[in-house]
Point group: C2
Chain length 216, copies 2
Amino acid sequence: MPKVGMQPIRRRQLIEATLATIDEFGLADATISRIAKRAGVSTGIISHYFNGRDGLLEATMRHILTDLGTAVSERRTLLGDAPPRAHLHAIIDGNFDRSQTSRSVMKTWLAFWASSMHHRPLQTLQRVNDRRLYSNLCAQFHRVMPKHQARDAARGLAALIDGLWLRGALAPEGLNVERARRLAYDYVREQLARVETPEERSAQAAPRQRSGAQSH
Amino acid sequence: MPKVGMQPIRRRQLIEATLATIDEFGLADATISRIAKRAGVSTGIISHYFNGRDGLLEATMRHILTDLGTAVSERRTLLGDAPPRAHLHAIIDGNFDRSQTSRSVMKTWLAFWASSMHHRPLQTLQRVNDRRLYSNLCAQFHRVMPKHQARDAARGLAALIDGLWLRGALAPEGLNVERARRLAYDYVREQLARVETPEERSAQAAPRQRSGAQSH
DNA sequence: CTTTATTGATTGACCGTTCAATAAAGAATT
DNA sequence: AATTCTTTATTGAACGGTCAATCAATAAAG
């Protein structure tokens, strides 16, 4: 066997260079020649390891998504069957993990969001991720409130997270992670406090869950 | 004077064609030849009326922003000094106005957001708009709560609006305008209800009710 | 006639991909 | 230990294609 083991090294280098290049020039002007130069390799190597520019971009998005998934599940596995609030906080914290809140990653995310509307492979990745966030949130809220209410709480929280994140990416001062988390926590608190609000309570009287009363 | 008065007609045509083309192909592939073909004119006309592609894109973003501003202020001028809740609802409604929730406009918005990170003229427009939304919200919340609390309420609501809007643009089923407005209304209600929460009350003293008794 | 409106072929720049050629690292052989 | 040998790694010039901008020429309205 000859010179081997370069693949994982080059892939990491190139994905890193892609993030930096998108950060500096934007997705449209992140040409393979710029990316290759930043990674310190020739352009041909990109096609060799990623089947061209599109493959590299897709791999870059996959990389960020994997980091996000890890950031969330690392926090949640520690929790076991902790109360919903703890899991919701863990999901929030994962979404605002350091790996997701650097300038280059936020910019790349936003670029991919826009691009995913017209690019099938990216669209698939983005939708899988969206649904995962939503259904994780929904499952936790559903532990303490009826399904229709849990759905709305999840929709609201998912939108709030994405919105904080989006505004952080666009704001000149960047994202204030601590404040973003606090605002999301507040939203969780309000939603959980509404569990037994007068309008919702009128139907039943179970102290913890209302497992019998889920009509749409 | 010879043949005159084409400018406003062509400008409207071309902006409309730009929105449709971005909707269909995405910003990166919205070439002047595609836009011109859709508008039924030649490519040269774009440079003639907009000083090139960038000018057309900037004018398109300006056009959407103007519509947004109109949608909001039309609703608010009717209100006079109505209570904060009414103004906040008007701002929400304006942001979810029909002119802002069509597929092509939402897609274009998202594309411009991403692009504005690397393109000065778009960045300026986008930031002016961001600040306008934030400070409008802030001013209304501040009428019934201390400034620091109003700021957080405004930050949260702004993020929620943008997030709902973003997720609507990306979701396969599109944006459910009614539901988005309801979720935003709910957020407003919760924030206004917190006006006299124990933690916040220690400094102030205004007559209000406790424990979730809101009027519509 | 004069000015505005409009065309569309041309031009120059740049981009992604390809591929023949070269380098380098281990394995096999001597 | 020196030598081929073989496979992977890597280069970068060449190619075909596309795009935005330009501009000389034409059309049309007063």
